[in-house]
């Protein structure tokens, strides 16, 4: 047929299209899938040789990460000191550092590499819960340097640890009466800092926040490279002020013919009043291209469960901590939701605690009653504590959920012991409930908060096991492998209203594939996360993941 049609063969193609679930060949033309089936069925499409390069690989639809942040691309300019292994955008496996000595050793190496003695050393990814609750003190960091300012940013991004020189320069050593300046055993500041007062003082003293500067093309390229390494072909940037500089950068990056991922930025609601945001999105949508999809808005209703800032219904936090914080006033949310809903804008609403989820559903119900929009697909992001009754309301209202499956592994133990207690922790990120009730759902990483990697996220939902080995609701809330694969492909695409273009391998859709070394449906479910990712195909362009 067409000279430009390429037919790929594969060991197996798992299409995630229920009407033709498996195939051996796929024909691609003009960046889109023109046919899927057997060699015989595709004979008419192959003008020349069949492209055999994937004949020993498994093809899946390119994975869709429905909740992650461009910051994943910015972090890798700084050394990583988290406990879990992580893959850098250049394909290198960066081993986790699992005790204080190992963290100090890695920081020493990074410190020695900086020439200017006054340049601060920043690092990221630390979480005491992942190394047996051990804190990183200023004395630990003083072992790295007593002269150079050092700041280690926690995995949560809300807490950091600094060395003594930073505390001395900022005069915070004795300021332990200030919220978030944590006291050590000697009564002086331990080096752990949270909250805006300490943040303001420290960043002024260090000459700025390394993560608040302007986004660069290199950051966007790193984000795309990280996606490729994990088999992701559609990725969100789920909270962005979308300043002119960022808009120009996204425009330029996605227009490069070989740019390796489809980008879905969500406009941060806080950055504009709704009326202005709606006008801004209308203009932005005009500039959409194959790899850039503006249109959605992100609202943040509460904080995080492990940070005790999520809003919980009675009886609240398991350990008795006071209820969390509203980031949007409960009486404001219905007004904001209503304005966007009437304008036909799809909302992605961050709600971690069940009180926040209930409030968001109240607001959507009121908006939907006042102005029915048949396919609004408003999506609750994280939605970690919803019970069955809240899922039933989601179903009734046409609301989707994007559940934070990676939390089961990374903070499952904290939720069991501290925040939610055994019963509620067992239905944390209740994928099984969503599946049973029929709420359309996806699962996500929130990268860089947890590592980007849909196969790992699927593994979390299939095995529901914490980092210490405790299982959480495995009997009732696990997904089958098929269901989990749907949640990282067509399910996530549905929550972004992109399911007509991506999320399955079928005629007419973009030729976006995840190229895997093994068949997820054939390996043991507990090995899902270990399947090698060869790379991706994006719009017919083959991208081999860098490996180092």
């Amino acid at each position: 047929m067409s000279q430009d049609t390429v037919v790929f063969s594969a060991r197996r193609i798992v299409t995630m299209n229920p009407s033709r679930p498996f195939a051996s060949h796929v024909a691609v033309r003009d960046g889109r899938i023109v046919a899927v089936g057997s060699l015989t069925e595709l004979a008419g499409f192959a003008a020349g040789e069949v492209d055999q390069r994937f004949s020993d690989k498994i093809l899946l639809p390119g994975f869709v990460e429905g909740h992650s942040h461009i910051m994943e691309g910015m972090m890798w300019s700084l050394p990583y000191v988290g406990a879990g292994d992580r893959r850098s955008p250049d394909g290198k496996l960066v081993a986790g550092v699992r005790d204080i000595d190992a963290i100090v050793a890695r920081l020493k190496t990074a410190e020695a590499a900086i020439e200017d003695p006054n340049t601060p050393l920043f690092a990221w990814g630390f979480d005491p819960l992942h190394i047996g609750g051990h804190m990183l003190t200023r004395q630990d960091l003083d072992r790295v340097s007593k002269a150079r300012p050092i700041m280690v940013i926690h995995a949560s991004f809300h807490i950091s640890n600094v060395n003594s020189i930073v505390l001395e320069r900022t005069e915070l050593l004795r300021a332990t009466d200030i919220s978030g300046v944590v006291a050590g055993e000697d009564g002086l500041a331990s080096g752990e800092l949270q909250g805006i007062a300490a943040r303001f003082r420290v960043f002024r003293s260090l000459g700025g926040n390394p993560l608040s500067g302007n986004l660069t093309l290199a950051d966007v390229s790193r984000y795309a490279a990280s996606a490729c390494i994990q088999g992701v072909t559609t990725i969100t940037d789920l909270h962005n002020d979308l300043l002119d500089h960022t808009i120009e950068l996204y425009q330029a990056a996605t227009r490069q013919p070989d740019f390796g991922v489809r980008l879905v930025p969500a406009l941060a609601s806080v950055s504009n009043p709704p009326e202005q945001a709606i006008a801004k999105l209308a203009a932005l949508r005009e500039s959409n291209n194959d790899k850039l999809h503006y249109g959605i808005v992100k609202l943040v209703v509460d904080g995080s469960i492990q940070g005790f800032t999520a809003r919980l219904r009675w009886p609240g936090y398991h350990n008795g901590a006071p209820n969390g914080l509203w980031y949007i006033a409960p009486e404001e949310l219905p007004r904001i939701v209503d304005i966007y809903h009437r304008a036909g804008i799809q909302l992605h609403i961050h709600t971690n605690g069940d009180e926040a989820t209930e409030l968001a559903l109240d607001a959507i119900e009121a908006a939907q009653t006042a102005c029915p929009q048949p396919d609004h697909r408003h999506t609750l992001q994280h939605c970690q504590m919803a019970d069955t009754a809240l899922f039933r309301r989601m179903k009734a209202l046409g609301v989707c959920a994007n559940l934070f499956a990676n939390h089961l592994y990374y903070w499952g133990d904290a939720h069991y012991e501290l925040t939610m207690g055994p019963e509620r922790a067992a239905r944390l990120d209740a994928t099984g409930t969503a599946q049973r009730i029929g709420v359309p759902f996806a699962i996500h990483s929130d990268a860089p908060v947890t590592p980007l990697g849909p196969l790992f996220t699927a593994w979390c939902a299939v095995n529901r096991i914490s980092s210490s080995g405790r299982t959480l609701g495995r009997e009732t809330e696990v997904l089958t492998v098929e269901q989990a694969l749907a949640a990282i492909t067509i399910g996530a695409a549905y929550t972004l209203k992109l399911d007509g273009m991506v999320g399955s391998i079928e005629c007419g859709k973009y030729a976006d594939f995840a190229v895997l070394e093994d068949d997820p449906l054939a390996v043991a479910p507990d090995r899902l996360k270990d399947i090698g990712v060869w790379g991706t195909v994006v719009g017919g362009h083959v991208k081999k993941a860098p490996s180092a």
Binding site: I196, A197, R201, D241, V270, R311
Partner: protein
Amino acid sequence: MTAAAPIPVTVIGGFLGAGKTTFLNRLLAAGTARYAVLVNDFGEINVDATLIERHDGTTLSLSNGCVCCSIGSGFLETLGGLLDGDARFERIVIEASGIGDPWRIAEIALVEPALRLDGVIVIADVRRIAQLIDDRRVGDTVRNQFAKCDVVLLSKSDLVTAAELDAARQAVLSVRPDVRIETLLRETMPDLSLLAGSRTSSRFRADGVADDALDHEENFRRWAYRRDGTFDRGRLAAAIKKLPQELLRLKGTCRIRGEAAPQIFQMVAGNWSLSPAGRDTSAGAGSIALMGVGTHDLPPDAELEAILDGALALDDALAHPALI
């Protein structure tokens, strides 16, 4: 160290719709001092157009010397930019978010040497405050806004009866029995420096002028502590831990050994802080003047004085303030 005296900071808190913006509009228009006012949302700022000299999208410059900056989504950047700029202001006024905790913002002024916390004012709508305090979803947020404020301003009082006004006052007192409460009147603009005020001119005046709210409440007892001398910081920290919990608040000026500047001391519910006082404070060298408020069963003065005396520097001869 900067040679200039720290700029006093007033934080304005209060729930959505309390009347913060109206208050700030009047403050800007009155222009009784060179204020820099940081607001959450420009949209509602409504200053007489004839006053506006320049409007560049994020900053409104007025002919009376005041500026108004939109916080947008970058509050810390906005405040940092203000401190780094050339313009010098007599006072910085910061509007907290309607669901935020104004004390968290106030703490910035406690740790930043270029700033001095002058006061936290929370505005409350008399028609709604009682209901908000008990609200299932936002009650904790609203109550928390009062926890560490210096003064509560009741707004929209002309819209209610005297009985309703009193009910609003009682609702606030149920959260903060010792707080000073003032009624905001449409025709007069209160002076910020007198309202929350540098400590010596507020309800903790060393001359002990009675506080309105306390006069109405016989369930509270005041206590004044005065000494010629200086505290030792470490001993002070230890002494404060020994103070009885019946002592609700303690405020005033003091000297700390080794510190050149007189210090403003504040303690609320066991949390305490020291911050350098500006030039305008009346604290003389080597003097300590603190005013406390406690519940009716506050232990005798002598007992309290013994605790704080334990915090005095042992050898005052060594207490000459070092040069900054």
